[in-house]
Symmetry: C2
């Protein structure tokens, strides 16, 4: 135990070879926003011209959310992108993030690819680093990110606005990440897709590197009555969205969009794994019928595939899942429980 | 390893007895700001009427920044207050915070006093919880907080504005926390103060529970040319502030304010321990001479003792410390280095 409080991501001009400065040097190129003050202060400035700042925070822990052997560049991307995904689902434009790194050691072989990959995402998503904190830990490494976005005042897309009659949309495809983890851990999916290296790699990549739907944020902001990102499993997340809105939903299982790889595996692993597995980082949203055409057009322009999978209905019961024949599909496991 | 991404501090109305909801329940009373959305969303809203949002982030790790045996209420207070201290030094008014908790287990005997103490500080400092994330970890527990404050546009007090002729002020007393840790670990201070339980307890408390100087924020905002909080040791932090401002300083060691307990121990432990020990969470600031009277008056009104310990001078060399006879005092260890 020490008496100190962590080393900010602050470059120390008096001691450029000090540990703090070394770490800050990795991350300084990512601090492109004037509000980051070039990482020479211990606070950052987030300017606002009267719009709301959307705040989201999400942490990943070695051995829990990623493997110690995962490449540092994928860990960096995942840590930032799970937060970007939340901003997208809230209709927010990324404004920046702060980073807390709990490290066992400061090896260049880990920090360099980590910082480089994070820097690429900073540019791709226009979400600059504003500041951070590095702490040493004797335990598993951990990366905690708090990200900020901007929305017009009072316009953040919440979870509570879904109304009966709204259509339920999801972006992209569902279940890929869960199958990717199954491949990684030598589960059924690995057997089913044995010999199909491309499908396996696709699923693995989907598990390791989320593809947040920030391109859709403007359409979500303009048209969705409620939205969230799918991180803990589609079925459970839909139940949460409905509960927050005081509504229920009727969802058709066969409409849930699957990738080619997932379609090839679904009969062996079961649909439940796909809709409860989590880590999708797609957007789930409710869109009033009158807005559906415009929403679809906006999604098309953004290059984001969207699929209507059901309808919001009145009631407080859990969402009802049915198959192509209208029979109820009972899902025993809605989402991953944490402890 | 699991496929999921952590459990937001989000209450799930469909599953009020679920683990997520249990955790959210501890913290819901702390989410008093409308922007927290009652912890039913995975993002929060920080409203702004055009003022700047000041962002700071700081993490504490079990076994590094606190002992596993430390009372949960002191851990909670420390985790929040180290961030509040940064806001104070930037002249910012607290606006809220997000909390990431990496826990090994969710024992009521730990979470209850942790959440209760955090709740008291939320009220004391008018800094509501806006949201958060809980993750499980097999390793040491960790608490990461990102806190927000408000300042008028463009007015955050940085590190770069100190100018030759400014006076260097510190609040309160310096070195108490370092001595408190020394007491805790059975160091020299424990010997020197043997029999003086009151002094020992005072120092221990100063180590465990920072007393952030948020009452001084308005005076800092109005009068300081540069400021930071003293977290890594006065000597090192002053060097950082000077370096960021492109100036040096001349400091008189005997002017550094000491508590009675520290004064009793200083000859045995050495002044260097006090000015390099860190964890003070006092404010260090430079104040232009024309502002000094008003600053002192503001501090007096805020009930925060301030002491001028030296002067900002031109030059890029490290600050010069002298004793009452004007002889240079060489400090070998400016502050704690992290790795």
């Amino acid at each position: 135990m020490t008496a100190e409080n962590g080393a900010r991501l602050v470059a120390d001009p008096h001691n450029p070879s000090g540990e703090d400065s070394l770490i800050a040097r990795y991350f300084k190129p990512l601090a492109t926003d004037p509000g980051a003050l070039g990482l020479v202060d211990d606070a950052a400035v987030l300017a606002s011209s009267g719009e709301d700042i959307v705040v989201t925070t999400d942490a990943v822990v070695e051995g829990v959310h990623y493997l110690a052997t995962d490449p540092p560049d994928t860990i960096a991307r995942k840590a930032l992108r799970v937060n970007l995904s939340d901003l997208a689902a809230k209709g927010a434009t990324p404004a920046g993030f702060v980073l807390t790194l709990a490290l066992r050691s400061k090896e260049d072989s880990w920090l360099r690819p980590f910082a480089d990959a994070l820097g690429e995402d900073v540019r791709t998503f226009a979400c600059p680093l504003l500041g951070g904190d590095t702490v040493s830990t004797p335990g598993p490494q951990m990366i905690s990110i708090t990200a900020f976005g901007r929305v017009p005042k009072g316009r953040m897309v919440g979870r509570t606005g879904a109304r009966p009659g709204d259509l339920v949309f999801v972006t992209g495809t569902i279940g890929d990440a869960a199958l990717g983890l199954d491949v990684l851990t030598g589960g059924v999916t690995a057997d089913v897709l044995k010999g199909d290296r491309i499908a396996q790699d696709y699923l693995l990549d989907r598990y390791r590197v989320p593809r947040p739907r920030n391109a859709l944020a403007a359409a979500v902001l303009a048209h969705a009555s409620a939205a969230m990102d799918v991180s803990d499993g589609l079925a459970g997340d839909l139940a949460k969205l409905c509960a927050a809105s005081g509504v229920s939903a009727s969802v058709e299982v066969h409409r849930v969009p699957l990738s080619q790889a997932a379609a090839a595996a679904v009969s062996a692993v079961g649909l439940e794994k796909l809709v409860s597995g989590g880590d999708d980082y797609e957007i789930l949203c409710a869109v009033p019928e009158a807005h559906c055409d415009d929403f679809a057009r906006g999604a098309d322009q953004a290059g984001v595939p969207v699929t209507a999978i059901g309808t919001v209905v009145a009631g407080l019961q859990a969402p009802r899942w049915t198959d192509a024949q209208g029979r109820e599909v009972v899902l025993n496991r809605l989402s991953y429980s944490h402890f």
